[in-house]
């Protein structure tokens, strides 16, 4: 019994790879365009504002005309704006991001030195928060309205409404300084003890010890958001017909949930987690401030006082590039998970 069917192309694995490849190229091009936009914004941020740039940048400090002129010359501010833009682009692409006023070292070197603590802090927290948050969200949604769900949702909402740095302050007060019967065992800040030897096992453990409270703080802050989103996505998914089909086949409830509902619910969750990477960057800034972690966030905040113009520009650039990269990774991951976007 053969019926006439539409003579459509049978999908081979080569076609599949080609369509994902097209998707990847599209997303990469988009990221490059975003990066370009950020470059432009970065440049004009300080210059399109009212007043003399030199004055703006030296606000709060007493400078005389000669120093202003020197300042202008060093930073090429006496050139025309288009010329400055070209210089800026040339320098950026060759890796010359200027010299720090405060530290008197090349900005690029500062960035490299400070990148590792931030990555460690943010990376660990995000991964932990994603794993725990997603698990919490799934369990809460599956037994909606139960004790676990209500407790978990209430806690998540409260943590979500909390400035993460305030949570950090509280944790320091209780666990680093000590409160009542609880001893203050954790360090109040910094990345290393004075006598720590970097590179050795004890040095690594020492770093981990210092990072414990900050990582706990950021993890708690993010997992609230992620668990709420996952719960909401899964609840949306639970009303779908294909789950009835799965149940009708005789699959156990747990299997229906994990094999069918959760993978579909993870799709919007991945997107939202990606969009929230921008807030991850903000979290790094405030937590590094509170815990005195010498990372990129603290570098940026310290540079505000001077104001250390090139450092600010450099850290802004890195932060934006980080967000773009994270978004790209999330998009590529999404393309792997959802076949509908790549065909």
């Amino acid at each position: 019994m053969s019926l006439v069917t539409n003579p459509t192309e049978v999908e081979t694995s080569r076609t599949r790879r080609r369509s994902y490849g097209r998707y990847v190229v599209g997303k990469i091009l988009g990221s490059v365009a975003s990066l370009g936009f950020v470059l432009v914004v970065n440049f004009f941020l300080f210059r399109v504002l009212p007043g003399d740039p030199a004055r703006n940048l030296t606000r709060g400090r007493f400078v005389d005309k000669k120093q202003l002129a020197e300042f202008n010359q060093t930073y090429g501010l006496d050139q025309s704006v288009p010329q400055q833009f070209v210089t800026y682009l040339k320098n950026t692409f060759s890796g010359d991001l200027g010299i720090s006023i405060k530290y008197r070292v090349p900005v690029s070197q500062l960035l490299v030195d400070r990148m590792w603590p931030t990555l460690l802090l943010v990376g660990t927290s995000t991964i932990l928060a994603a794993v725990i948050g997603v698990w919490l969200g799934i369990r809460g949604a599956w037994k909606r309205g139960g004790v676990f769900d209500r407790t978990s949702t209430g806690t998540s909402l409260t943590l979500y409404s909390m400035p993460e740095w305030w949570l950090g302050l509280l944790l320091i007060a209780v666990f680093a300084v000590g409160w009542g019967p609880i001893p203050g065992i954790f360090p109040t800040g910094g990345l290393h003890s004075v006598d720590a030897q970097p590179g050795t096992l004890s040095g690594v453990l020492d770093t981990a010890w210092h990072l414990t409270l900050p990582v706990i703080t950021l993890t708690l802050a993010y997992l609230a958001d992620y668990s709420l989103i996952m719960r909401s996505s899964l609840l949306d998914e639970l009303g779908e017909d294909y789950l009835t089909t799965a149940r009708a086949k005789g699959l156990r409830d747990i299997v229906v949930r994990n094999r069918h509902a959760v993978p579909n619910a993870l799709l919007p969750t991945t997107t939202v987690i990606a969009l929230s990477i921008g807030f991850v960057v903000s979290g790094a800034i405030t937590i590094e401030t509170v815990f005195s972690i010498p990372g990129l966030g603290l570098l940026g905040v310290d540079a505000l006082e001077v104001p250390d113009y090139w450092v600010l520009q450099g850290t802004f650039m890195v932060a934006a590039a980080g967000v773009i990269l994270a978004n790209l990774v999330a998009n590529l991951l999404y393309g792997l998970l959802d076949p509908r976007v790549r065909t």
Binding site: M1, S2, L3, T5, N6, V10, E11, E240, D241, Y242, T244, T245, A246, R247, A248, K249, G250, L251, R252, H260, P263, N264, L267, L337, D338, P339, R340, T343
Partner: protein
């Protein structure tokens, strides 16, 4: 004596905020091996809800009474283990609206193979793959389509995938819930052709649900007409379609043109009024407010299903009256 499916006095009530809502009321239904029985009625009459009880898929908030005997065992009271073994391997379903009944992120071949692996864990991937290919051929699709995702298939193709999936574990009973509703007329004809061919070839019993009486008339041996949660008429399909006893069944058969007849599609017809709200059923016969043959007695009591010979039954006091 029906040996495949026997439903006795099945009633289903939803628990809602305002009170209990009776969706199915005291339904009896028999189905034999190799028989095709159709259930006809407007949306909301309880036919899909009734069908969901066969595999115990009704919502958890629903209360079901009566017996649903599949090959002698009561589905409503059997253990979870027995139920899960029954699901798909004893009886399977073709769901309405295949648009959303397939998992959008998994290949259709994997979804067809899933129950095969579940009910026979010894099956190797290769064997399952071969079986999937067989099933696709049976419904008229090339075996290569197994690697497609649902969004790459047309409506008719998806429906045929659902049918192939329903056959995967060689069930004795297939419940097809509005299998052609979302399809256009030509594809509808094709899908019905596939279904009827399979039923006769494989000797399965089929329970087919549709609001389109003409579709059922072609395919089914017997038709059961439901209204307001009750059975109002049942009998051999030609007779129910051609010479209905119950006024509702008569109106229903007049409302639909023949499949494949484009001209008749535009002829205006249909019943005035709306189907009854199950939460607020009228007294007596629930069809009384819309019935062209209504008399005062109709609202006094719910009419019993009476026999009219030839395996025909109707629940109307006006049968045989002028």
């Amino acid at each position: 004596m029906a040996d495949l499916l026997r439903m006795r006095d099945v009633s289903l009530t939803y628990r809602a905020e305002g009170g209990d809502v009776p969706a199915v009321r005291n339904v009896d239904l028999d189905l034999d091996r190799g028989e095709i029985v159709g259930i006809a009625g407007e949306s909301g009459c309880g036919k899909s809800t009734l069908a969901s009880t066969i595999l115990r898929l009704q919502p958890p908030s629903a209360r079901v009474t009566g017996e649903v005997l599949f090959e002698g065992a009561d589905v409503l009271t059997m253990s979870w283990g027995d139920l899960r073994a029954l699901r798909w391997a004893g009886a399977s379903m073709v769901f309405q609206g295949a648009l959303h009944s397939l998992n959008p992120v998994r290949r259709v071949g994997d979804q067809i193979a899933e129950p095969i692996h579940l009910h026979d864990p010894e099956t190797s991937d290769k064997k399952a793959h071969v079986r999937v290919g067989e099933l696709l051929e049976q419904v008229g699709l090339p075996a290569g389509r197994a690697r497609a995702y649902p969004h790459q298939l047309s409506g008719g193709q998806k429906q045929r995938i659902m049918i192939a999936m329903a056959l995967a574990c060689r069930p004795r009973l297939i419940v097809a819930d509005e299998p052609t509703t979302a399809l256009d007329v030509m594809v509808q004809a094709q899908v019905l052709h596939v279904l009827s061919g399979l039923v006769h070839e494989l000797g399965v019993g089929m329970l087919m649900i549709s609001h389109d009486l003409s579709v059922l008339a072609d395919l089914c041996d017997r038709i059961v007409v439901m209204y307001g949660g009750r059975v109002v008429e049942q009998g051999p399909s030609k007779l129910v379609f051609g010479e209905a006893l119950h006024p509702y069944a008569a109106a229903l058969s007049a409302a639909f043109p023949r499949v494949g007849d484009p001209g008749a599609r535009y002829a205006p017809s249909g019943l005035p009024g709306d189907p009854p709200d199950p939460a607020a059923l009228p007294p007596g016969c629930s069809f009384a407010p819309r019935c062209p043959r209504v008399v005062d007695d109709c609202t006094r009591a719910v009419p019993e299903l009476r026999s009219f010979g030839d395996d025909r039954r109707a629940a109307c006091i006006r049968v045989g009256q002028p």
